[in-house]
């Protein structure tokens, strides 16, 4: 997130996957600015909070089994933005909390009208993994060697052997198993973002 510019004002928002969402939630530039100011007086910080709130809303909708959590998160934010004149006068407390209630309402509307496509395990021939493996190779090359060794060793072996290996790793690194879990999770999240960007560029 650091180093990223504050979000641009979204001039037009559409939800092709969710035709039932109201398209009249037209957000003006003034309202958007007011929204950011409500999140944080510092526009850069506000931008980070905006992204952070969006990620959490996506998590909520994904955990409710929604197949388009990003669109639903954006709809939730739009509805909050539109109500900013009323909210900033009357609401007290962490702005993040306010989004939860709106998200629930959005979900109920979605749940009434959705048709959820069931997950179909996609065919996974070896050749289909090549772009991902290539991107992973590139991304692993971009992280420090220590981190690279940790994450690769963490996922080596099968089941019971892997568990023993991880306990051994924790002892060698003189750290608690939970701390190792957190470390690996952070490296993994970094790699996943990197691989996602790599695939989006078609660089794999």
């Amino acid at each position: 997130m650091s180093g990223q510019p504050p979000p641009e004002f979204p001039t037009h928002v559409t939800f092709p996957n969710l035709p039932f969402l109201r398209s009249e939630w037209k957000v003006s530039p003034e309202l958007f600015d007011a929204f950011l100011a409500w999140l944080d007086p510092d526009r850069e910080q506000a931008g980070r909070k905006y992204e952070d709130i969006r990620r959490r809303l996506i998590k909520i909708f994904a955990s409710r089994g929604c197949f388009c959590p990003e669109d639903l998160a954006d709809e939730t934010i739009n509805r909050v933005i539109v109500k900013i004149p009323q909210i900033r006068e009357n609401y007290q407390g962490d702005p993040s909390r306010y989004f939860g209630g709106v998200a629930r309402n959005v979900f109920h509307e979605y749940a009434r009208k959705r048709t959820v496509p069931a997950y179909q395990p996609e065919p996974d021939p070896p050749e289909s993994r090549e772009p991902e493996l290539n991107c992973l190779d590139q991304c692993l090359g971009e992280i420090p060697e220590a981190g690279r060794n940790i994450i690769l060793r963490y996922y080596q072996g099968a089941k019971q052997a892997r568990i023993q290996n991880r306990n051994q790793m924790a002892r060698e690194l003189r750290t608690e198993p939970n701390a190792l879990r957190i470390k690996v999770h952070r490296i993994r999240a970094l790699l996943q973002r990197c691989v996602g960007d790599c695939l989006a560029r078609g660089a794999g």
Partner: protein, 320 residues
């Protein structure tokens, strides 16, 4: 980031949509404001994906994972990424292992190493054990084989004895049944004869001899002349007809032919005879005029229709 151990089970249930609505609201409210909690959810998500790939989720959890957890495209990407990471990690480990693998030892070297262990006591013990097995093994095998053969032979003998005994038992029962039939018939005839005598008993001593029209006699085949006592027919004066009932072990033919012989000479012959089956006996009735029978030995040969083989019945006739 701090991990709240107590929350992990709840987070798992939340991610698999196995929570109540109240629990869900509490979690979502906390998720929006608590950074560590949000990160813990992400971590548990990763590990849930790993468990799915390891196929260690319970059937119910697996179903929820596929139906609910994997609805969001972001999580499907996470699944693909996890698979790729595992493959990459495994390939890396295999590449490293093949680099470090020592030269493959010759096949005899492990045996050589065994014979030259670091401790002599171990070597002597091993040598003794090997020698014992080498010497004792074949001898034991031969002995066991020999015993096995003996056992098989004894079992075969026993089986033969059992079969023979069964045969003999059957023959004995068959013969006994035949004898019983003959004895019963004889008793009947005697009773009948006694009854007949009783009706004319006052005239036995020079008195009028009762007129017996038909005499009947049961004959069995295979009775030797030496045992003819039970097949002796006394024909009184006045008897006109003798009905000889030939006992058959089984009724194999539609009709039969009977030939009466005396000293090898044919006295009479009858064809087209049919057997009668009363359930306990199969009989062919041969009627012979009493006048044809003199005192002496007779043979009846019974042929199946169109057959050359015959059953032989012997009879001793005494004319009174």
């Amino acid at each position: 980031m701090k991990l709240d151990a107590g929350s992990e089970t709840l987070i798992r249930r939340y991610l698999l949509a196995a929570v109540t609505e109240d629990e869900r609201e509490q979690i979502e409210t906390r998720l929006m404001v608590d950074d560590d909690f949000f990160q813990q959810i992400n971590l548990v998500e990763d590990e849930l994906v790993d468990e799915y790939l390891d196929q260690v989720l319970s059937p119910g959890d697996r179903l929820r994972f596929e139906d609910i957890f994997l609805c969001a495209p972001e999580r499907q990407h996470k699944l693909r990424f996890s698979k790729a990471l595992r493959i990459y990690a495994t390939n890396t480990a295999q590449a490293k292992a093949s680099e470090n693998r020592p030269e493959k030892a010759a096949w005899w070297q492990p045996i050589l190493a065994l014979l030259n262990p670091p401790r002599p006591v171990l070597a002597y013990s091993l040598a003794t054990a090997v020698l014992s097995i080498a010497v004792g093994g074949p001898w034991t095998f031969i002995r066991i084989s020999g015993l096995g053969n003996q056992i098989a032979a004894l079992q075969a003998q026993q089986q033969n004895r059992d079969a023979r005994e069964s045969d003999l038992r059957s023959q004995y029962q068959e013969q006994r049944a035949k004898t019983d039939r003959i004895a019963a018939q004889l008793r009947k005839e005697k009773e009948r004869w006694s009854a007949l005598q009783a009706t004319g008993g006052g005239r036995l001593t020079g008195a009028r001899i009762p007129m017996v029209d038909t005499l009947s006699m049961l004959l069995s085949s295979g009775v030797t002349r030496d045992a003819q006592a039970s097949q002796r027919l006394e024909i009184p004066k006045g008897a006109t007809l003798v009905a000889l009932k030939l006992d058959l072990p089984e009724n194999r033919f539609k009709t039969y032919k009977a030939v009466l012989l005396s000293e090898g000479q044919e006295i009479l012959s009858r064809s087209g005879l049919k057997a009668s089956d009363s359930g306990s006996q199969i009989l062919i009735r041969l009627e012979v005029p009493a006048s044809d029978l003199r005192s002496g030995d007779y043979e009846i040969r019974l042929f199946g229709a169109g057959q050359n083989e015959f059953d032989s019945y012997v009879l001793q006739v005494i004319r009174k």
